[in-house]
Amino acid sequence: MAVKEQVYPGAQARARTAEPGKGIEWRKVGRYAAVVFVVFVSLAPLYWTFATSVKSGVELNVSPPTLVPHSFSLENYATDLGLSTFTRDLLNSAIIAAITTILALIVGVLCAYAIARMKFRGVAIVLGITLSVQMIPLIAMVGPLFVFFTGPLPIYNTYAALIIPDLVITLPITVWFMTSFFRDLPPDLEEAARVDGASRLRALWDIIVPLTAPGVFASAILSFIAVWNDFLFGLTLTTDEHAQPVTVGVTRFAGEHTIPWGEIAAAAVIVTIPLVIVVLFLQKRIVAGLTAGAVKG
């Protein structure tokens, strides 16, 4: 919005000095060209993946590669989905991401509500802890987790082995996002409910929860994507399709002699299609969630 206003007076100022008209048009053309270029660069690799995924046999190995597939076949998809390990990996990822997201929400929403609405000593410390967790490189947690999960707490290669560390990723997201969401809600509504005789927790449940449903939903999506995209924990804390997420499964695709490009491409499409759909439909919410901490912080 700012730029629109900004362009106009700027253009006006120039129009006073230079010949009117022409310069403005070129600026517009330039801007559109740049936008088209950015969109092209963002999406071209996706097109390439899709195109590769529908090519079959010979065409996959043609050099130079064909820009538009001459053949259209779904055999790569059929191969992938016919693999019991691949479908199991997809299921693993979905279950792990869903459980982690729900756990983080249950715990994180309460924490965020307290931070946003209540006065107590140590708010800064709580926020500081949740933020500083994100500064720890995940690789530095993997060693002890491996030792712990293969020894004292034998949950190596189970869902729990991934759900527990994944909370490190999802809790800060949930707390930060929901805190900023609660702060944006007018407190009057809650006070009105409390004047009517509802307790604070009652007000939270009856008034705040319905109002925050969109925020909770957005926060859930961010968490889900973050867990779905995890690779390092999956790689180090699982060994096989018993619990391994699909991100790890895809890298274990590599064939014996030749790399099965078509199947890898099809797998990439299958793994990312849900994310692409979510992003396209909910981009506004996601952007709000991504930027919650940084701008208002």
Binding site: V3, V35, V39, A114, A140, M141, V147, T272, V295
Partner: protein, 305 residues
């Protein structure tokens, strides 16, 4: 207030009232589960990691405390020192490019034009991808025979016929940077876009009344107002880049290692005697991240005054 209507004994009433005010114990009860979980799943592992790095073989039941020996070995290893170099090279170049491109894109789409939502959604798509999948997608395009990127670079005579970026160490680092920039520039752009949108229009209007050019407005208004979000975005990106693992796992094999991939390789792909070295490497990475975080918070404090 809330409890007046409820008929309960006096003592309970006062307790509930105290809890209800939100100044008593209630906030602590609400906050506690998060804090306990974070301490259990993050603080404990990192502290334990530091302890493990002082042992000779953490995987053995009779591990011995050997002080800083692991670190001494680590820094004596030229491969590890090389991995520090690779990590910093990758971080500095990719974060710089992402910031510049991100700022450019944010300025570009911070306007009202038809199809703006669609543009915003399409640049967000790469961000939503698992890094491993992005790496595989680009691996597909870097492939020597059928990869489109290699083909284009060959046609432009940047690469020899039949060559690929993934043959030399420099080429591999370039390939990972390209992939990272493709994937994370949207994150930067959207953070900065949100920062741009809270700058009041009046500032630009006032400036243009004074006859300042767009370039001047950018340096005098946009950049200073954007400083806060920019520093935060830079910190997040820098920390994430220092820990880069997935991209190198897929694109580099073990030919070029970052600190995280060195750490992983020592922990999981070699003999159990190397486990402690891997843990130590990850602690070095952690300490570097800590120092950089402190520098950034200091930077924010200084510039906020």
């Amino acid at each position: 207030m809330a409890t007046q209507a409820v008929e309960v004994p006096k003592t309970r009433q006062s307790l509930r009232e105290r809890l209800d005010l939100g100044n008593g114990l209630t906030p602590y009860f609400l906050v506690l589960p998060t804090i306990i979980l974070i301490l259990a799943v993050a603080a404990y592992p990192i502290l334990n990691s530091i302890w493990l790095s002082f042992l000779d073989n953490p995987l053995s039941p009779v591990a011995h405390f050997i002080g800083l020996s692991n670190y001494a070995h680590l820094f004596a290893d030229s491969t590890f020192r090389g991995s520090i170099g690779v990590t910093f090279l990758f971080t500095i170049i990719s974060v710089t490019l992402e910031t510049l491109f991100g700022l450019g894109i944010a300025l570009l789409i911070n306007g009202n034009f038809p199809g703006r939502g669609l543009v915003r959604a399409s640049i967000l798509v790469p961000w939503a991808f698992p890094t491993v999948i992005s790496a595989n997608i680009w691996l597909l395009m870097y492939n020597d025979r059928t990869g489109i990127v290699s083909y284009i670079l060959q046609q432009l005579h940047i690469l020899a016929p039949g060559a690929t970026l993934l043959e030399t160490n420099g080429g591999i680092i370039a390939a990972t940077i390209i992939t990272d920039v493709w994937k994370t520039t949207p994150f930067m752009a959207l953070l900065l876009l949100a920062g741009l949108q809270v700058i009041p229009n009046e500032m630009y209007e006032a400036a243009s009344v004074d006859g300042s050019t767009r370039w001047q407005q950018f340096w005098m208004i946009t950049l200073p107002m954007l400083w806060g979000p920019l520093v935060i975005a830079l910190l997040f990106r820098t920390l994430a880049s220092l820990g880069v693992f997935d991209l190198f796992y897929v694109l580099a094999g073990s030919q070029v290692q970052t600190m995280a991939s060195y750490s992983y390789n020592y922990m999981f792909t070699r003999s159990t005697f190397d486990f402690a070295s891997g843990v130590s490497a990850s602690i070095v990475l952690f300490v570097i991240g800590l120092i950089i975080s402190l520098l950034f918070t200091q930077l924010m404090r200084v510039t906020q005054r």
